[in-house]
Symmetry: none
């Protein structure tokens, strides 16, 4: 029976000698035997098996899965079906990623003059871009795009008034808190309602309960936001968040 040495198999198939040794080491492709000095010798059956391995590998399957298929422990069609599903998921993930990266680039390039620097009050352009990326991954592109349109539709006056409006909310909330009001109390909820309406205006669409609560969580979780609130009053972000949660539960 004809046999082939490692070097010959390398020439025939294009795989590297190291790969053959690796497949031997993990038991995926055991040589037919060993010649003088322990030299590996492959027979026809091993070459055929190697061809199958390479085919399945080209399809992106993992070596352990390939081994299970070739040894009959796994159904080939079922394994490929699962693999196809994984490929589709991965592709979708990449699509989403690519969109977010593109948005980030556009933002960094400043080609989009959407939110003036005043928007996030104190955040530099770089941080702003990060926030847009975060917003897109949190709420989706549609929401952020709508927000951009809404902001552009505002007059310059309205736009420049944004930070002051937020500051006004924050100060009123801090005052209520100092007075001992709970987040769910009517006075606080009134301010929160104004806040909600204002966000709706900024976003160009009415936030859902989840989105609004998510925004509240962002206020406390994001150190940049949190710091902005802390400047007005310690832990004000958490106070507002509770107010937003209560508002969302009661009205959205």
């Amino acid at each position: 029976m004809q046999t082939w040495s490692t070097a010959e198999v390398v020439k025939l198939t294009g795989v590297t000698a190291r790969t053959l040794r690796h497949y031997d080491a993990i038991g995926l492709l055991t040589p037919a035997g060993h010649g003088h000095g322990g030299l590996r010798r492959y027979g026809r059956a091993e070459l055929l098996r190697l061809q199958q391995i390479l085919l399945l590998k080209r399809l992106g399957l993992r070596l352990d899965v390939i081994a299970e298929i070739l040894d009959g422990a796994l159904d080939e069609i079922a394994a490929l079906e699962r693999h196809a599903i994984q490929l589709a998921e991965e592709r979708e993930r990449l699509d989403h990623l690519a969109a977010t990266v593109e948005a980030t680039i556009r933002q960094l390039e400043g080609k989009q003059t959407m939110t003036p620097e005043t928007w996030f009050d104190g955040l530099d352009a770089d941080t702003q871009a990060r926030h847009e990326a975060e917003a897109r991954s949190r709420w989706g592109d549609a929401v952020v795009d709508a927000g951009e349109r809404a902001i552009r539709a505002m007059s310059a006056e309205e736009r420049s008034a944004i930070p002051a409006t937020f500051e006004d909310f924050h100060r009123r909330l801090a005052a209520l808190r100092d007075a001992g009001a709970e987040p769910a109390d009517a006075g606080v909820q009134e301010v929160v309602e104004h806040h909600y309406r204002f966000i709706e205006k900024l976003w160009g669409t009415a936030p859902t309960a989840e989105a609004y609560k998510g925004l509240g969580a962002l206020y406390t979780d994001d150190p940049a936001f949190n710091a902005t609130f802390d400047e007005v009053q310690q832990d004000l972000a958490a106070y507002l968040r509770e107010g937003m949660n209560a508002y969302a539960d009661a009205n959205l």
Copy 2:
């Protein structure tokens, strides 16, 4: 100045403690200082940096690249643009892979329901039965039945003529190739069209461009197929594959 312990940062950001230690170990995020017992302490600056790290990481950048960007050694926009290109390439690769996998699955299905041992040597009756049961539960009866109906709609003569029909294609292609014809030439494309119609008949449905190309790739990649072609003429599979690609591009 306010500082946070590892556990606090974990709660604030959602990353694991192990990750924070890892980032410290590779120098990506060094704590502001160490408290009693070597406990890590993070300040506002570190939280902001961590925030940036997490955003870039969500965009799929590698940690060493992130470090270079944050330390100013790399231009952020340029790095993201390169990254976007890589994402697009990876996506395309997955597209291609998915199409090939789908075609392979179809072909394996065809192996079992449509063309018996005469065309493909390799699956015994038991394996075939398992595959069919698997196929029915996974793809639904409709698809498998359609294929079987298509086969059954053939007369016994037609069925037994399947291998001969393929062989006829192969011989005609080999002859054209010997005569110097390119895969895209009209004469070859005419044979390929017959081949396409025949596959359509066997599958019970018209292959898409991707599926048809995937089948061509399978002819060259699968050793069982390739060997069948090689018996007629050396590297005939690759020749047919090119013809199939040209046909798909022009007509599907």
